[in-house]
Structures are given as structure tokens and as C-alpha cells.
Amino acid sequence: MKRRTKSTNSALSATLIRRPIQRMFPLFLLPTFVAFCIGFVYPFGKGIYLSFCRFTTTSNARWIGLDNYIKAFKDASFVYAFKYTVLVAIVSLIVINVLAFAVAYALTRGIKGSNSFRTVFFMPNLIGGIVLGYIWSMIFSGILSRYGTSIVLSTTYGYWGLIILMAWQQIGYMMIIYIAGLQSVPGDLIEASKIDGANGWHTLWHITIPTIMPAITICTFLTLTNSFKLFDQNYVLNGGQPFVFMADGTVIRSTEMLALNIYNTFYLNANSRGTGQAKAVLFFVLVAAIALIQFSATRRKEMQQ
């Protein structure tokens, strides 16, 4: 009996809802679908194809197989950019998450003005990468010029400059996610641990942190992908300077991250566009792999709960 009502129901909804909507395909789905093909599907497919070609524009592509990939792996500047990006990603991940968590923790203690503090910390997040880069390059040059140096002259300053910039930009964002997590920790759990004689550190370590693990996972992966995809800030702050000229003629731009390296491969020299596209494909695989790991990590957590 029940089953029959269900099937009549679905038949009803098919004639009432599904088919009429389906008939309106040209209005509802077609515009987005066409734009999606122009803005994503075609460029993506063509990008994969071109990574196996030698080309300077899309019309003069000639199939050359895996040459571009071999060249990409042999390119010392690409390997360097990869290592540099990993170094930026790991350190910024730790710095941003520790500070964001500390701020979120302090701001959920019920202190006066918490909301205003939150407003301030989140603000830099809304400023675009280009403007952000100029703001900080002005500040760093203001500080470093007193010591007769500049951010574009030193890899060390460039590296830490970028970390400071990223921390300033992202702490507020991660803080919001941590605050949401901390507010969902049940109060009686904390109460109970206090009655059992646990001190503040114990409660934080054994109750709070385990319960907000989902927020920690989200923030970890967010900071990680943000670092890997970083372009504007890197481009403006020092553009990869200082450059190191190798004996074999290759140039290592010593503060250049992956996204900027790919951009430079494309647009500094039109003859290396094939290599640039191959690098872009490798870059995509890397970013997608991180996303996949994140997906399975959150999935596993949800299944445990």
C-alpha cells in the first residue's frame, strides 16, 4: 500500500514538476551550460591537448608528445618554485592556524569588545591581492630602507615578508571558522571536565581540540590550497626577485612560487608556452590531489561520528 502511494507520488511529481521544467531547458540550463563550456570545459580540454603540443598561439599547435612534460621536470626554476611553494605552504599553515586559533580561543572567552575585534581581524581578507601586495611592499620598504636594503634584494626578507602578508590576510578568515567550531563545543562537557579537576590546558587539549577537529581539518586544507594557488601577492610583493643566474643560462627567480612560475613560462617567452601548459597541468593535478585528500579526510571523520 505504502509503496503504491510512493510510486503514484513520484509519477505525479514527474508530470507536475519534472517534465515541465525539462521542457524549459533552453531557459534554465542552457545559458549556464553554454557559458560553462566557453569559460571552463573547452579551455580545460584544449589546455590538456596543448600540453602535448609545441605552440605560440592556439592555432599553430603541433603534437610533440611528452616533450613538454620532460622539459618541465628538467626546468630547474620549476623544481625550485615547487620546493619554495612547499616551504611557504608549510610555514604559513602553521603560523596562520596557530595564531588564528589563539585569537578565536581568546575571543570566545566572553571578553568585552569581542565583536569589534572580530571585525578588525577579518577586514584584511576583503582586500584584493594586488592592493595587498602594494600596501605591504610600501611597509617593508619603509622598514628595510633604514638598513639600506630592500625586500627585492633578499630571498630571506622576501620569504618572511610573504609569510607576514599571508598571515595578515588569512588569520581573520580562519579565526571565523575556529570561532564557529569553538561555539559548538558543548558547555556541559567543559563543565564536567572542570568538576573532574582538569585545568585549563587539560580541557583545551583533551576536550576542546578533539571536538573542533573538523574546523582544524578545514582550515588546514584551506591555508594549504591558498598557498599553492597564491599569485597576486607573490607577483606584486617582489615578483620573484632576487634573480639568480645559473651557469647554464637558466634564471632562478628565488622567491617565485608555482603559479607565478607558470605565468612567467607562458608570458616571458612565447616559445616556452608548451612547457608552461604542461606545468599548468601538473599544477592542476597537484591542487586536485590536495582537494581529493581533503575530501576523503572529511568523509572519514563524518563516518566515524
Binding site: I17, G39, T119, M138, W168
Partner: protein, 280 residues
């Protein structure tokens, strides 16, 4: 109890100090936008003095410097941001509704392609996308919304579809029985119910497009059209002698709307910006 109170007050005071330090970069830009170039270079963190104070000169210079008027860039930025965000909201919400209600094989393929597109970094498609846009003449501020719709569809469709799944079918059935066609059902009944996601997606797209640099830089015909980020980058990059004061003034002009927007609609902005990334 009293000790706890004292501790909280100390923490509050500490945070006031931290917040002032945190806002220092923005204050410094604001301060420097009223100083002479040499003062910006030598006394970056000092308040303007009588000698170094320039009044609104930097703002006047900033707007007039270079052969491309800044107000034109600002106008194009505004036009591109608003029209692209509006197009994305209308088109992708319709698409997401179609996908979740029709649920055909084709609809599902489109949906999974959208989800897939969220993990693809821009560098992967930048070259081919710019060439495609040029071939199809989508390289002006009036047509670039199509590109933004295409490249930004993934996240928007994903967020809308997630919300539509939670809307009970009975409401739409009742509307259909009462003689509402799909178009009216969507715009009169479903669309208003989408309000929370519309705000979140809208905020997310606006922040993205307003601040975006590389996509418009590669897609637009730059001799004719610039946006604010492209304009600022040009001033810094292409002139041997950079008018720092002018750049500072332009930075102030370009972040003022964002700060005002943020302070008035803070709740929605934080929710929107965070929701997008957490779900994506």
C-alpha cells in the same frame, strides 16, 4: 570571580593594542596618501608634518596620472562586478534548480563537471580561456560577464543545488496544481526562498570579481579597458618614476568601498565568504 574579571579586562586591553597594530598597514596607507613622495620613502611611518603634508594633491594626481583616466577604470570595475554577479546569480540558480529537479543523466553530468571545475586552478585554463574569449569577442567589460559566469559557475551551482535539495517538493507541487508554470514557480516561489544562498553567493562573487586581477588582465582588451587592480598595477609597473603618493591615494580610493560595504553588511559578508570556502 573577581580574578576572572581582572583577567578578562587585561585580555580586552591586550586585544585593543593588537587590533591597533593589526590595522597599522591600513593607517599607514591612509597617512601616506597625504604626504609627499620623499616623505613616504624616508619617513614611512611618521604622521604628515607641515612640510610633508600635501592635502588632496595625491588624490588629484592619482586620478589624473597616466594616459588612462582612473575613473574610467573604476567605472569598468563597478560595471563588470555588478553585471557579472547579477548574471551568475540568476543563471546558476536557475541551472541548479533544473539540475536538482530534473535530475537526468545530462543534468548530473553538468553538475559533476561543475563540482570538478572547483578544484581546477586558474593557471590551468588561463591561456586557452583568454584565447577563446578573444575569438568569441568576449573581451570587453560588456561581454566579460559571460566568462565570469562560465568560470565561476562551479561553486555557485554547487551552493545553490545544495540548498535546493532541502526545499520540500510539496510547495512546488501545490503551485503546479494551482496552474503555475515552471517559470512562474521558479521566480515567484523558489527564487525568494533562495535568499540566504543568494546573499552568500552574491557576496562571494562580488569579492572575487572586484579584486580579481589575472582574469580581466588576460581577457580584456587592455588598450581600451582596465579595472582598478589592472590600473594600479600599470601605474606601478610601467612608469620608471613611480608617483608613490598617487598610488597610495588610489589604494585608499579602491579599498574605501570595500570597507564601507563590509561595515554595513558585515554579518552577511562574513557568512557568505566563509560558507563558500567551507563547502567548496
Amino acid at each position: 570571580m573577581k580574578r576572572d574579571h581582572v583577567r578578562k579586562t587585561i585580555l580586552s586591553v591586550l586585544f585593543v593594542v593588537i587590533c591597533i597594530i593589526y590595522l597599522m598597514p591600513i593607517f599607514t596607507v591612509l597617512m601616506n596618501s597625504f604626504k609627499t613622495n620623499s616623505a613616504i620613502n624616508t619617513e614611512t611611518f611618521a604622521f604628515p608634518t607641515e612640510q610633508s603634508f600635501t592635502g588632496a594633491d595625491n588624490y588629484v594626481n592619482g586620478i589624473n596620472v597616466g594616459e588612462y583616466p582612473f575613473l574610467k577604470s573604476a567605472g569598468y570595475s563597478l560595471l563588470i562586478t555588478i553585471s557579472s554577479a547579477a548574471l551568475i546569480l540568476v543563471c546558476t540558480s536557475m541551472a541548479a534548480w533544473y539540475i536538482s529537479r530534473v535530475n537526468s543523466i545530462f543534468a548530473r553530468i553538468v553538475y559533476y563537471l561543475c563540482v570538478f571545475s572547483m578544484v581546477v586552478p586558474f593557471q590551468m585554463v588561463m591561456f586557452t580561456l583568454a584565447k577563446t574569449a578573444n575569438t568569441l569577442h568576449l573581451d570587453s567589460p560588456f561581454t566579460i560577464p559571460v566568462i565570469y559566469l562560465g568560470f565561476g559557475a562551479g561553486l555557485a551551482v554547487f551552493m545553490f543545488a545544495g540548498f535546493v535539495k532541502g526545499i520540500p517538493l510539496e510547495i512546488e507541487e501545490a503551485a503546479a496544481i494551482d496552474g503555475c508554470g515552471p517559470v512562474r514557480t521558479f521566480f515567484l516561489i523558489v527564487f525568494p526562498m533562495l535568499k540566504p544562498v543568494l546573499i552568500s553567493v552574491g557576496v562571494l562573487e562580488i569579492m572575487w570579481i572586484w579584486n580579481d586581477y589575472l582574469l580581466p588582465y588576460l581577457v580584456l582588451d587592455r588598450t581600451k579597458y582596465k579595472t582598478i587592480p589592472i590600473h594600479i598595477q600599470y601605474l606601478q609597473g610601467s612608469y620608471g618614476h613611480v608617483d608613490l603618493g598617487a598610488v597610495m591615494a588610489l589604494i585608499v580610493i579602491s579599498i574605501t568601498p570595500i570597507v564601507v560595504f563590509y561595515l554595513t553588511a558585515q554579518k552577511y559578508i562574513i557568512k557568505g565568504v566563509v560558507e563558500g570556502a567551507v563547502k567548496g
